[in-house]
């Protein structure tokens, strides 16, 4: 069996989310890990949403000022008061209901509010989690900090979680040398996925050559007939040899 000289699982790619994970049991009791967003992502999304609310309020006040100049001062003030109330109380709940659990801040950070079972949260749950924001402005951050699932009070009340949206750009190997296990496959896939981002071309090519040598040792027939290493480069040769495809 091929061995990449690692006796632990450090070579196995980890989820890119960086947050805690909650396990749920899906259909047929199959375990799924929810990539829960941690306090940092949540607070950053909150800051973006705060800016969005401020911009909306400024635009509304501007609109009402124009209304006061051109139509009626009385109605402009009345509309201004009502609009400010609606933005303050309705922005978060309205956005999440309209977009299936996302606000502008969550969209920017690719987060989504879902039920604790990973399914789409209903309008009732989204309303509940957002109408207690006043209390969460006081208690929300400490609660998120001590909770492994980073739930604030509104989440506990509504039975919701905020998760990173599933995105899995992955390289899949169409050919695998005999004897390679999951660790070897994962290492090569991970390298090929990141090869385009590696700035040090010499180090990248050197690593690709080492991987190619392992392929040659374990399955020389995969390299037969590929030719043109000067044209493809070592990374390209590795892709061709293992029929790697990015999805």
């Amino acid at each position: 069996m091929a061995d990449f000289d690692r006796d632990d699982e450090q070579g196995v790619p980890r989820p890119a989310t960086g947050g805690a994970a909650a396990s749920i049991l899906a259909l047929d009791n199959i375990r799924l890990e929810l990539p829960v967003a941690n306090i940092g992502s949540r607070c950053l999304a909150g800051v973006i949403d705060g800016c969005a609310v401020a911009v909306l309020l400024a635009l509304w006040v501007l609109f009402c000022s124009v209304l006061a100049l051109w139509v009626s001062g009385t109605w402009a003030v009345a509309a201004g008061v009502a609009g400010i109330f609606l933005v303050e109380w309705g922005y978060f709940a309205g956005m999440e209901i309209a977009t299936g659990g996302r606000t502008l801040g969550k969209m920017a950070l690719r987060l989504r509010a879902v039920t604790a079972a990973g399914s789409e949260a209903g309008a009732g749950a989204l309303l509940v989690r957002n109408l207690v924001r006043d209390v969460d402005y006081l208690a929300g951050v400490p609660l998120m900090a001590i909770d492994p699932l980073a739930r604030r009070l509104g989440d506990r009340l509504a039975g919701t979680l905020v998760v990173h949206e599933a995105r899995a750009p992955a390289v899949l190997l169409g050919r695998v040398p005999p004897g390679w296990g999951a660790r070897e496959v994962a290492t090569v896939e991970s390298f090929l996925l990141r090869a385009g981002e590696l700035r040090d071309a010499a180090a990248r090519d050197e690593l690709a050559r080492r991987l190619l040598s392992r392929v040659e040792r374990d399955a020389p027939e995969l390299l037969a007939g590929l030719g043109r290493p000067a044209v493809e480069g070592p990374v390209g040769m590795l892709r061709l040899a293992l029929a790697a495809e990015e999805r």
Binding site: L32, F85, V114, A166, P178
Partner: protein, 332 residues
């Protein structure tokens, strides 16, 4: 099964599932969420493919952990779970909410409503007594200018209603009352302390203000001002606070279910009650800004209107509803 063979055999199914899921999402975005109902056959095929993806995910997570296939399947399984499963009951329309969901939730909270009314009534009486034995309370509650006005036979409400146009007053009153009701409800998560505080404060203030008006022989004028909007306004504040107390009770006395689950159930039930109250606050604001301050309208008319609004509210809240609507409480 080796990795390459696993991919070769199963990957077309994953791609097909991803394509169907994306199509469902696009159709949902175009035609409104969840209304993107495809045919029964398509739904069945999608559910079958979801099950296959879940099983492939379980296999890949065990046999090929950390590989691209395992990550892709985990993402697909999560996306499928998010899109195809749902625990909460869908929105069943405004008519169902008004005639069934709201009355059902309201009637489940009658005990808490009685408790909130008792706290409010007790605080009101206390305020009344305090204003009688403590003449200095007037300055504290209303300020020296309002007291000077009372001595001259003028209510402090006159300046509020004559200097602010009715449209602005309506808007301000409605948003203020809505904020108070929502704060009373949401503050319930702090073990019911905030709604209790609001009930006691409002009861004390109302009792104190009426007591002071009695002292200056202005109670008739004050009651004339509040006759049209007061009864419903107080009712709605007490109902919202009772809903908040429901949240607090779930936290303090969860019973034989986990505290989080008890709060989730109480949150859904009490939210229905508060949402049912919100439109009444808008009606109330119009009455308070336009009818209450109008001196040309007879007091009897205002009192009849106030009583009528309260009866209408309780008529809607206590209306018979379908027995099956109790299930609404558990499905959020």
């Amino acid at each position: 099964m080796d990795y390459a063979r696993f991919l070769r055999l199963r990957r077309p199914l994953w791609e097909d599932f991803a394509r169907r899921l994306a199509a469902l999402q696009d159709a949902g975005a175009r035609r409104g969420r969840r209304s993107a109902a495809t045919s029964y056959g398509e739904v069945e095929e999608l559910a079958f493919a979801y099950r296959q993806v879940l099983h492939d995910h379980a296999l890949a997570a065990t046999r090929f952990p950390g590989t691209g296939a395992a990550r892709r399947l985990a993402a697909l399984a999560l996306a499928g779970t998010h899109r195809l499963t749902r625990r909460s009951a869908p929105w069943r329309g405004l008519r169902h909410f008004v005639f069934h969901a709201f009355p059902a939730a309201f009637q489940r909270q009658l005990g808490l409503l009685a408790l909130a009314a008792a706290v409010f009534g007790g605080s009101f009486l206390l305020g009344l007594v305090l204003s009688a034995v403590q003449p200095g309370l007037g300055n504290l509650l209303l300020g020296p200018r309002a007291i000077a006005g009372l001595e001259e036979g003028r209510l402090w409400t006159e300046s509020l209603t004559t200097t602010v146009p009715p449209a602005v007053a309506s808007s301000g009153i409605a948003t203020n009352n809505l904020s108070v009701a929502l704060a009373a409800w949401s503050g319930g998560v702090l073990a019911g302390v905030v709604p209790l505080y609001m009930l006691v404060l409002n009861g004390l203030m109302l009792g104190g203000v009426i007591g002071i008006s009695l002292r200056y022989s202005m109670a008739g004028e004050l009651l004339s001002f509040v006759a049209a909007h007061g009864p419903l306004e107080l009712t709605l504040v007490v109902v919202a606070a009772a809903a908040g107390l429901g949240l607090g009770r779930a936290l303090v006395e969860a019973g034989d279910v986990p505290r989080g689950e008890a709060m989730r159930q109480a949150g859904h039930d009490s939210l229905l009650v508060v949402l049912g109250c919100l439109p009444w606050f808008v009606v109330l604001a119009a009455v308070e800004a336009r009818i209450s301050p109008d001196p040309s309208l007879p007091v009897a008319f205002k009192a009849a209107l106030g009583l009528g609004l309260v009866l209408l509210f309780f008529g809607a809240a206590l209306a018979p509803h379908r027995a099956g609507d109790d299930a609404d409480a558990a499905s959020s």
